[in-house]
Point group: D2
Chain length 132, copies 4
């Protein structure tokens, strides 16, 4: 399932090139992931708090195709590309809302860990959500 989150580029997120700084896309990916969880029936916050499970980033990448500018409304289109019990990969497309112009694509791969940051398996109640 693919889920769209919306963000609007903040002045704080621009740099002196006049466009959004490249590091901010990874924060927007996070916004996309959190929204993906909600649309799939659970809150990431509760997963951490109630189940003591964290999705720690092991790899992250982004390809930038066109610049995002201040006050642009963006869609962060998020899906799960691959999931195993201990490793989940999300994929992202960043689009300019309305025009559906593709600005960037990216991936993040997460280790499932406990609060101690040590690897563990995803609790069974999340299996169906991640297609396991």
């Amino acid at each position: 399932m693919t889920v769209d989150a919306r963000v609007r580029v903040r002045y704080a997120e621009t740099d002196q090139m006049g466009v959004a700084y490249y590091g901010n896309y990874f924060t927007w990916f996070e916004v996309g992931r959190v929204e993906w969880c909600k649309a799939n029936g659970f809150n990431y916050r509760d997963m951490e708090h109630d189940d003591g499970v964290m999705l720690v980033v092991a790899e992250a990448s982004c390809r930038y195709k066109a610049a995002a500018r201040f006050d642009d409304e963006l869609l962060i289109r998020t899906s799960v590309l691959r999931a195993r019990r201990k490793l989940i990969t999300f994929g992202y497309e960043v689009l300019k809302a309305g025009r559906d112009e593709l600005l960037a694509t990216g991936e993040t791969t997460h280790l499932v860990t406990g609060k101690d940051l040590k690897p563990r398996a995803l609790p069974e109640k999340y299996f169906a959500i991640f297609g396991l």
Copy 2:
């Protein structure tokens, strides 16, 4: 005692005006506070970790006099303006290194709390450091 910390303005910290974004000064104040602690004989990290004491921000302010630009080296000149057992106020001057041009001044007031974010008194071993 007044302590100088050094930061260099990062590209990420600029905005499309071509100057450092105003919110970043509060991060630089934090760098100044951490350095003030070190110069006064303790690590803020250890204070949190070993003593379970946190300095939670209750008020923060900044006056901006001149812009900081990408790659400028700044001095964050930090001192304690007022200290009581449960409330500490730091003062800051942000200067352009070398030229000693004053770019900004600011203050942050902190509640002394435990890890539960509830007010408590500063441990006695810190009294002399804060002039109590």
Copy 3:
């Protein structure tokens, strides 16, 4: 006129205290200002781009009353407290959405400048909007 903007606390905006880092409130104030402009009939982006007018921050302050946490939805309630042709002060309340719990209050004062960051007067077409 008071205008509400909504933000959701991002994981990136939390710190190891488990709450939103104090510097981020100033970014949220910016989100509030941008929304205030839109609700009052103009885009801040166009003001910069079309009129060459910038609102450069001269002073900023925030009082923190209660912590904002990851995934909390916040209202940034923005109004103009004082306006002159060369100086505008915005006021902010940060509330937890739904519960209307007041988390913080703040102010930012802005110099009206040209693209060269030098003071100038606000263009006449904005007078009525700012009650001048």
Copy 4:
């Protein structure tokens, strides 16, 4: 040539997991690039300002091996992996200073552009520096 830059993890850069947020590594990579330029005889700032040349990020990636924590001093070990007249790839290692423990590795690939963000060739005076 490999160049080491030093950063200290800021409180602002931690998140509620108690470690540095994954997006900040890309800002540290920027610190590494800027330092690489200096050690190789030019300022990135001057390149933008004097030559009108920008290095716009086209791709960025990071692999995270171990967490960086508040107040850790890090080395950002930067080198040029590949360079052509219109495309430059930097490589990075993030190490914990003193212990030389590898925390992360990464790459960023940059398009050479003018101030209009349109591709152009690198000015000839930089050829030798980038091994062209």
